[in-house]
Amino acid sequence: MTIGQLARTGFTDASRASELLSHEQFDGLTSDPDFVEEFSVAANPDLAVLQLSRILDLESEESAEGGSTEVAVEAGKIRKSLTEDREFRTRLFHVLGASEALGNYLIRHPEAASVLAQNGEDRDRLSRDELERLFVEAVESCICQDESWEHEASYLRIAYRRRLLALAARDLSGEVAFEDVTAELADLADAVLAACLHLAKATLPNDAAPCRFAIIALGKCGGRELNYISDVDVIFVAEPAQGPDGELVDEYEALQTATQLAKGVMKAANEATAEGTIWEVDPALRPEGKAGALVRTLNSHIGYYERWAQTWEFQALLKARYAAGDKELGDSYVDAMLPFVWSASERDGFVDDVQAMRRRVEGNLPADQADREIKLGPGGLRDVEFSVQLLQLVHGRSDVMVRSPNTLIALNAMSMWGYVGRKDAQELAEAYRFLRTLEHRIQLFRLQRTHTMPTDELALRSIARSMGFFKDPVRELDKAWSKHKQTVRRLHEKIFYRPLLNAVAQLGSDEARLTRDDAIARLNVLGYQDPDGALRNIQALTSGVSRRAQLQKTLLPVLLGWFADSPNPDAGLKSFRRVSEALGTTPWYLRLLRDESETAMRMARILGSSEYVTELLMRAPEAVEMLSSEDQLTPRTHEELRAEIESTTRRHTDPEAAIEAVRAVRRRELFRIASADICGLLEVEQVGEALSAVADVTIEAAVNIAIRAYEERSTVGFPTRFTIIGMGRLGGDEAGYASDADVMFVHDPLEGVDEQEATKAAMWVANETRRLLALPGADLPLEMDADLRPEGKSGALVRTFASYRAYYERWSDPWEAQALLRARYLAGDRELGAEFVEMVNPLRYPPDGLDETTIFEIRKLKARMESERLPRGADPARHLKLGPGGLSDIEWVAQLIQMNHAAKEQNLQLTGTLSVLNNAVEDGLLESQDRDSLVAAWQLASKIRNANVLYTGKPGDQVPTDPRALASTGQMLGYGQGDIMALLEDYRRRTRQARQVTERVFYGWTD
C-alpha cells in the first residue's frame, strides 16, 4: 500500500506505519489488502500497528532449551486468527487503537486474545455468579503458595483484565449499550470483591472466631453504573456466627475476624503487584468516615444512622446494594437502611444541608480546567447525578416509584411518573450517556482514573475516533460535546423549575405533573422563602392563552433559576410579575421574553438584587430595553448628556415642566448606571464618574432653567456672572447613588451693576436651582449642600468672587484650604469657575508646603473628628466613612500629601482621591504597597456604600448590621452565599491595613 493510501486509512504518521508494516513480522499478513485497510477502525491506527508489531515480535522468542516459548506459541495463534477470523481482527484493532494499557496487557499475556475470537468460549458477557466462579478459580489455582498473596493477587488481576478486555472489545466495536457496559463493570467489581474475600478468608488463622460478613457497594458501583476505572465505594457489615459449640460467638471477637477480612479484601484489590492493581476499594463512606470502625454490626449501623448521620450520608445510602459475601446479611442491611434514606428529607436542616451541598457541587473549580472537565463544574456529570439524587430525596419519600440507585433508571422513572418532563428527561439521558462514554474512552487509553479532556491534538483525535467521529474528528467531537454540555447546563431549568409550572398551569401531555404540595416542597429546597406566594406569582404569569403567557411559560423556568441565585428570589419573582404586567404586550418586550437572552438574565439579576433599581424601573418599565446590549449599558458621556438635556429643556417653557423632563433623563441614566453596576460591567471608580456626570448635567440644566426664569421676570436681564463650584465627593468625581451634591455658589456682578442688586439676583437663582432639584418627584430629589462655604451654615449662601477672595486671604482655617482641594467648576459661568479655581490654587497648594504647626493642627483636628463626628451608638469598625481605615482616613492621607507637595508636583493638582494616590507613588511620595492598601479599602468601602443604596433604596454609611442585609450586600459584591460574615471580615482586614498606613503616613507614628 502506498503512503498516500495509508494516510487515507487514518494513519497520522503514514511513513512510519509503512516502515513498520514492511518488517518481516507482517509477512503473510499485508498481502491481504483488507488487512491494512482494517486499521481504519482503530481510534489510533498508528498506535494499533505499533502494538501489533510488538505482539508479533513475541513469536521469535525462544526458550533456554531452544524451543518456542509459551508466549511465542500464543503470538503465533494471534497471527493465525488475524488471517482466519475477520471479527477477531476488527476487535483486536479496536482495542489496540483505543487502549495502550490493554495493548500492553496483551503483549504480556497474548493468550488472553482468545476472548476476542468469533467463537471464543468466553467472548460474551458472563453473569455475576459465573464471573465470581471464574475469579475464585483464578485465586485458588495457586492459593497458599506463599504468605505474601503476591501470586494469588496477580492471578486475579490477570483474570480480571481478561474480562475487561472482552468487555472493551465489545464496547469499542459498538456491540453493547452504555447501560450494559456500566452494569457489566459493576458485575465485574462484585465478582472481584467476592474473590478478594475468598482470598482473605483463606488466609485467616485457624482459630479466628467465625462471623457472617457482607460487602455493600455504594456510589457508582452501588448504582450499577460503574466506570472503567474508579474507586469502588463499599461498606462492610458483619454479625457473629455460630462457633463449633453451636453457640453464637462473642460479638467483639467476630468483629475482630471481620476487620481482618475487610483489610484483606482491600489489600487484595488495592495492592500493587507485578500485574498492577485493580482499583482502590474505598470504605470512606462508612459511619464516621475515616475515623470510624472499618466493620460494624447491622445494629451498630442502624444506631449510627438513627443518631449521628448527616444529610449527605443518607444521600450516599441511596445507592447501597449487596455486592459480595453473605447475601442474606447484605440484603438485611439494605432493607434496614432504605427507610432512613426516604425519611431524610423530613430531618431538621435538610433544606440548609441541601443548599450547602449544591453550592459545593457547583463550587470552585480552577478556571483553567473548567472547560476541559467532564465531571465537575457547572453542567458536569456530577451535577446530573446530584440533581437526580436530590429530586429523589424530595419526591421519593412519598412515591416509591422513583426510588432507584441508578441515575438513568431514576431519571426515566421520574419522567414516567410526572416529576420531570418526558422530553427533557430523554435529552438529559442522552447527554449523560454521551458524557459518560466520553469519560470511559479517556479512561480506557491508559486505564487511569481521570475525567479531564486531554489538550494534545493527537490524543483528542483518537478519543474522537473512538467515539465514532471519523470525519474531522476533533472538531466534530467538540461540537457534539458542546451540544450535550449545553443540555446539561440547562439541567436545573429542566428538572427543577419547569415542572413547577405545571403544578399551577397545564402545559402539555409531555410535561411533568407535579402536585401543589410537591411544588411547594421543591421551591422551598431551591431557596424561596415564601413558596406559596411564589406559586401564586407563577400562576399569574403563566395563566391564560395570550402570547405573553405562552412566552413566559417558556422563559419562567430559566428565570426561576436565576432568581434563586440572587439575594432575594421572592422579590425578584414578584417584581418580574409587576414588570410583565406593566409592559403588557409591547412587541419588543415579547421579543425579549422570546429570545431569553442575556437581557433576561440581567433583568433577573437586577430584580432579585435591588429595590432601588426595581423602583426606578417601575417608573419607566420601558427602560428594560436598555439591558439588551452592553453598549446601552455604557454610561453616557458628559457631552452626550448635555446635548440631550439642552434640547429637552428648550422644548419646555415652564420651569417645573422643564426640570421634570430633565429629571426623567436623570432617572433613566441612574437606571443605566445602577444596572451596569449590578451586572458587574463597571468598576466602582467608573460608577463614581458616571454618577458625578449625571449630577453635573442635572445641576447645570437646573441653573440654566433658573436663570432663564429670572430673565423672564426681570426687565434688565441677569445682572451677574454666576457659577457653581463642586466640592466633596462630587468635586472628586466620586459621587455615590445617594450622595448630596456639595457645592459653593459664586457670582461676580457685571460691570456697572449694583453689587447688592447682583447678589439678590444670584441668591434668587441659587435658591430656585435648589428648589427645582428638590421638588418632590418620581425620582430621589437631588439635595444641594453648601455647608462647606465660608463660615459654614452661618455664612452667606452666595458670595461675590471678591468676597471669597477677601475671606480666604484673611480668615481661612487649614481645614477650609483642605476642603478646597476637591473644588472644581461644576455649572454656570465657565470662565468665572476657572477664575475661582485659579484664585484658590495658592491656598490649597501652598508653595512651600505646610509648616510643622499646620500639620500638627490638621492631625489634631482629624484625631478629634474620629472621636466626635461618629453618630451616637455607631460601631466605628463598621462606619464606612469615619471608622478607622475608612474613607475619611484615606482621603486625609491623599490630602496631606497634596498640601505638602502639589505646588511642586503638578500631577497632584487633581480632585480625585485615587488619582492623587497613584500619582503620589509616581512622584516617590508614597510606597506603592501603601497605596495598594489604601486603594483596596477605599474601593471596598465605596462599593458597600453603593450596594447599601442599591439593595435597600436608602443611603447607609455602615456595613449593614442586619444579617439579611449583610448577606445580600455580600452577595451583590460577589461574596458567596452561606457565609454572611465573609464580607465583614474582608472589610475589617482591608480597613485595618489602611489604618496602619494612615497612622504611619498621615499621623507620622512609628512603631
Binding site: R307, W308, D348, P963, A967, D979, I980, M981, L984, R992
Partner: protein, 445 residues
Amino acid sequence: MDKQTEFVLRTIEERDIRFVRLWFTDVLGMLKSVAIAPAELEGAFEEGIGFDGSAVQGFARVSESDMIARPDSSTFQVLPWRGETLGVARMFCDIQLPDGSPSYADPRYVLKRTLEKAANMGFTFYTHPEIEFYLFKQKFKSGFRPVPVDDVGYFDHAPHGGGQDFRRTAITMLESMGISVEFSHHEGGPGQQEIDLRYADALTTADNIMTFRLVVKEVALEQGLQASFMPKPFEEYPGSGMHTHMSLFEGDRNAFYEAGKELQLSNVGRSFIAGLLRYAPEITAVTNQWVNSYKRLAGGHEAPSYVCWGSNNRSALVRVPMYKPHKGNSARVEYRALDSACNPYLAFAMLLSAGLKGIEEDLPLPPGAEDDVWSLSPGERKAMGLEPLPTSLNRAIQAMERSELAAETLGEHVFDFFLRNKRAEWDEYARIVTEYERKKYLPVL
C-alpha cells in the same frame, strides 16, 4: 422529630436528667454554659437557644448581639459527677447567627477554619497535650498563700491520699466521658500534677481540654480540694505548662516522617518547625495569654524563653522527640511554650497556621540548639542568633498587633477583640503596686 432528638430525649427520661447544660467557649477560653430544662430541649434542637452575644467576652457588639447556640446532639454526654439522683448532661454548641451562618467570633469556628485550610493542603492535624496543674488543700482566700496538697516531687509516689487518689478519680471520670488518658504522674512542684491526653485530631483535643479542665475542678471540689491551671502560682516552683505534641498526617501517613533523614524528619516537618520558630513571637500572646503566663516563661525549669529547637533539648521552644525507628507514625514535634490556661481552640489554630505558613513559604530549618539555653551567657546566645520570646504580655501584644498571620488566623473580629482585651489587662496590671515593690522599696526609698 429526628431520631437523634428522640434518642436524647429518651435518655434524659431514662436517666432522670434534670438539667441539660449547653456548652461553648468564649474568646478567652472560658467555658460558658446555659442550663435548660429537658422540656426546653426540643425547641433548642429545632431553633437553637437564642442568647445575648454581647454579654459573652468577645462575641459581639450590641448591634448584632442576637446569637444562637445550636446544640450538637452528637456531643450529648451525661455528666458523671453530679450523682445519680439529679442527673445533669451536657452538649457542646456551635455558635451561629440568626440565619444559621457560622459566627466568626466562635473560637471553635476559628480552629475549624484553620483545619480546613490544612485539609485543603492535604493535611490533618493531630495534637496531644500534657496538661499540668496544681492541687491545693483548701479554697482560695485572698491574701493567704494556698497550700499544696502534698509535698513530693517529679514522678514521686505519694503514700496516701492527695494527688494519687485525685488522679485516679479524675482519670476514671474522663474515661467515662470518652476522653482517653495516655499518662499521668506527679509533676515537679508540690501538689503539681500532670495528665496527658491521648493523641486526637486538634478539634477533638480542644473540646477534650475544655471538658478536662472542668472535670479536674469538679473532682477537686468533690474531694474537698481546689485545682488551678494558673500558669505560675509560685515563684519557687515550676509553672503549669501544656507542652503540646503535634503532627500532620497525609491520609494514613505521618507527613513529618521520612526514613533515613536526619532525626527521620521530613522536609514538611522541617518547614513546619521553621514556621513555628519564625512566627513564635507574634503568636505568643495567644499561646500565653495572661500577665502571669510570662512569669512562667521567665522562670526557667521546663519553660522556654528563647526561640530555638533541639532534638532532645528541654530548654528549647520546639523539641523533636526521639522515637523508635519503625514507628514512623509517631513522628511529631513538641511546642513547649503553651500554658494550661490558654484558649486551646485559638492556640492550636495559631500553631497550625504558623507551621503551615512555614510549609507554604518553604522555610529552611535553622540549625538546632543542643545546649541548655538557660546556661548560656547573653553573649553566647546573641552569637547563636537566639531571639527571646516576648518577655511580657505587653511585648507579646506589640508583636501580635503587626501580625498578618494572627489576623488571618483568628479572623478580624477575634483579632480585634483579643488585642483590645489584652491591652486592657496589661494597662490594669501596669497600675498595680505589688507587695514585692512595697517590701523592696519602702524601707530604702
